[in-house]
């Protein structure tokens, strides 16, 4: 039986109108798929387009931005161009969402019980009482103590950690096929982050999901596969352990060298020089070229993301680890 990807993004482009009347490309030809039971980490810095990609997979690209090309298939169904009403049926049903800030993801004037039960009744034909039971079970399943009492509280009455759990419960309440989590632990303290990562790991592998994060450490903790995004394009993808152990794109390598680790010798951190590019920067050349230690003449033309046939892909003319002769600058 051929496996249909739960979520399949193909050659997706997202543009925003520019001041000069043209269009700025935020996401430029990204392809990414999520299979059943798989957690894919999308790693990038601010302005890389990672959050826009997440919004696009949920049909939520904010106006005046728009998907200018490509396809997003959810369980085989094309969602680009779907009427809003159909997309609303999918959101919260087939696809669950967890955002960074539970205060924006949870309507503050509604009780937790009414938020969850409304979502249940939107997607399942059940009575009000049954919907509340399902809501309570969802709260219990994400480790919220005294779930029954919590049905009648408002989001602000919960601690940050419990609020994030409540948002995860809301994302899970209709047993979605795919869960998209955008920086789900960034606003949390370290010990709470560990709790939420454990919870997400357990819940995401039961379905399939994308974890969007700026933190390679967070991605490494729970993701099976990683996709590194830079200036709206994927620059490297591969199984988590392989990619971290032997990065092939100079940007991935740069990120890993820039992170402090617990090492008695405290080697000097190696920063990536310069600044991340503005989305409007020209895309003719490799976008990482101005910051790349290995840049060479060929980099004047942007390389395509090229699979190696063994589960990894890299967009670089001279990937790290390739034979020396090919790497000559």
């Amino acid at each position: 039986m051929a496996d249909t990807a739960l979520l399949q993004i193909e050659d997706l482009k997202i543009g925003f109108p520019a001041r000069d009347g043209g269009e700025v490309t935020i996401v430029d030809g990204v392809s990414l798929s999520v299979n059943h039971g798989e957690i894919v980490g999308l790693v990038g810095e601010s302005g890389s387009g990672k959050s826009m990609l997440a919004l696009a997979s949920m049909g939520l690209v904010p106006r005046p931005g728009r998907i200018t090309a490509g396809s997003v298939k959810l369980l085989g169904e094309e969602t680009v161009g779907l009427p809003d009403r159909r997309m609303q049926d999918l959101r919260g049903g087939t696809i669950g969402m967890v955002f960074q800030d539970p205060m924006t993801g949870l309507n503050p004037v509604r009780t937790i019980g009414s938020l969850l039960s409304e979502s249940v009744r939107r997607h399942q034909r059940v009575s009000r009482d049954r919907a509340l039971e399902i809501a309570e079970a969802a709260l219990t399943s994400v480790g919220i103590p005294a779930a029954h009492e919590r049905l009648s509280v408002y989001p602000h009455q919960l601690s940050g950690g419990l609020r994030q759990r409540a948002m995860i419960a809301l994302a899970l309440v209709n047993d979605p096929a795919v869960i998209i989590a955008d920086e789900p632990t960034t606003a949390l303290d370290t010990t709470i982050q560990a709790q939420i990562l454990d919870l997400l790991r357990a819940k995401l592998v039961a379905a399939g999901g994308i974890l969007i994060t700026h933190d390679l450490g967070v991605a490494a903790e729970i993701c099976d596969r990683l996709a590194v995004i830079y200036h709206g394009r994927l620059v490297e993808t591969g199984p988590t352990a392989d990619l971290l152990a032997a990065p092939r794109h100079p940007y991935t390598e740069g990120l890993l060298r820039a992170i402090p680790r617990f090492d008695r010798h405290r080697p000097r951190l190696v920063p990536i020089p310069g600044q991340p590019p503005a989305p409007s920067m020209d895309r003719g050349a490799c976008s990482f070229r101005p910051r790349c230690d290995y840049a060479m003449d060929a980099c004047a033309k942007a390389p395509a993301l090229t699979p190696d046939g063994a589960g990894r892909s890299v967009a670089c003319w001279a990937p790290i680890g390739a034979p020396v002769l090919e790497r000559r600058a």
Partner: protein, 332 residues
């Protein structure tokens, strides 16, 4: 030798509609000349309150602050001015801490002017030197903060903080608002400046790996108290307090280093409604009956190593079980 900065038994309480918030509960901390002390804790630990109190931006309800042997706890603003010269601060948000209407040159010159140290020409030359020292382009002086990225703004804030060659800079989450690729630039800059000028730092941060990277000594706070203090390496290699163990083990890492996680249950309690006994006992994996009634005091366990726990060193970092295996267990 007297430490450069020494705080003893600091108490800070805030009255809130819900009751008294005990932000600092008998905190003692010292920073020696030229050293970097890292101050680690989660929200509600009191780490930022401590930084603000040491800066004399918050008046303590008890305790004393000594700067270079001088008691500055209750100094009036005028008497405090010469101390301010030697004690500067860097904030987390480089977008909020710089006046958007002032040119970068004026921002950096401000402390120089306030302390009337030199002529206009000297100030201009000094600003140019500082701009160069923090790695900003030479024309930065004429431009506004809005024209710079987050990392560059933090460089501006650093230039302003070191303008008077202070003895101590307190940095509150100096890189946590920056992109990963930029954080390392700023960390290295802070280290270089320290090597050149011998400035001592008190770096407040939630990221233990980052603090370990730049600090000689690390102080861990929990709910308004210091729970552990040790050299940076000792704290990482042999944490004594169960909270430090949990913090260390909770740190996400890209190393597949055979480490499993100790995940604490529950949230940190509210500083308004503090637990009895040891403030950590409700979440502590090794708490005993005694911990619920009696609060352990910060005690020296060996040279330079202090811990506030009745059972120091009893809980070990769970290194034995590989992370991948643990993942599989959860998946089943």
């Amino acid at each position: 030798m007297t430490p450069l900065l020494q705080a003893r038994d600091l108490e800070v309480r805030f009255d809130t509609p819900k009751g008294t918030l005990h932000a600092l509960d008998g905190v003692s901390i010292a920073v020696a000349r030229g050293e970097t002390v890292g101050l680690v804790g989660e929200s509600g630990s009191g780490k930022s309150t401590l930084a603000m109190t040491l800066m004399r931006a918050i008046d303590p309800d008890g305790g004393r602050i000594l700067f270079d042997g001088q008691d500055i706890t209750h100094l009036k603003p005028k008497a405090l001015k010469p101390v301010r010269r030697r004690l500067q601060m860097i904030f987390q948000d480089p977008y909020a801490s710089l006046d958007p209407r002032m040119t970068v040159g004026r921002i950096i010159a401000e402390p120089l002017k306030a302390h009337k140290t030199s002529s206009r020409a000297e100030i201009a030359a000094r600003v140019a030197a500082l701009i160069d020292a923090v790695g900003l382009p030479p024309d930065a002086a004429e431009r506004l903060p809005a024209q710079f990225s987050g990392g560059q703004r933090q460089r501006i804030a650093i230039a302003r903080a070191i303008a008077l060659e202070p003895n101590l800079v307190i940095a509150d989450e100096p890189v946590s608002a920056l992109d990963v690729s930029i954080q390392a630039q700023i960390v290295n800059l802070l280290r270089d400046i320290q090597e050149r000028l011998g400035i001592a730092y008190l770096v407040v941060a939630h990221d233990l790996a980052l603090v370990h990277q730049i600090a000689n000594r690390i102080v861990v706070m929990y709910l308004g108290r210091v729970v552990e203090e040790a050299s940076a390496d000792d704290l990482i290699d042999a944490p004594q307090h169960p909270y430090t163990v949990a913090l260390l083990s909770a740190q996400p890492t890209t190393d597949q280093d055979g480490r499993s996680r100790l995940v604490l249950k529950g949230d940190p309690p509210s500083p308004i409604d503090r637990p009895s006994g040891c403030p950590f006992h409700p979440r502590c994996p090794i708490a005993r009956a005694r911990c619920a009634t009696e609060a352990p005091s910060l005690t020296e366990v060996s040279d330079g190593k202090r811990v506030a726990c009745f059972y120091p060193g009893e809980l070990a970092v769970p290194w034995d079980q590989p992370v991948q295996e643990q993942k599989r267990e959860i998946a089943q």
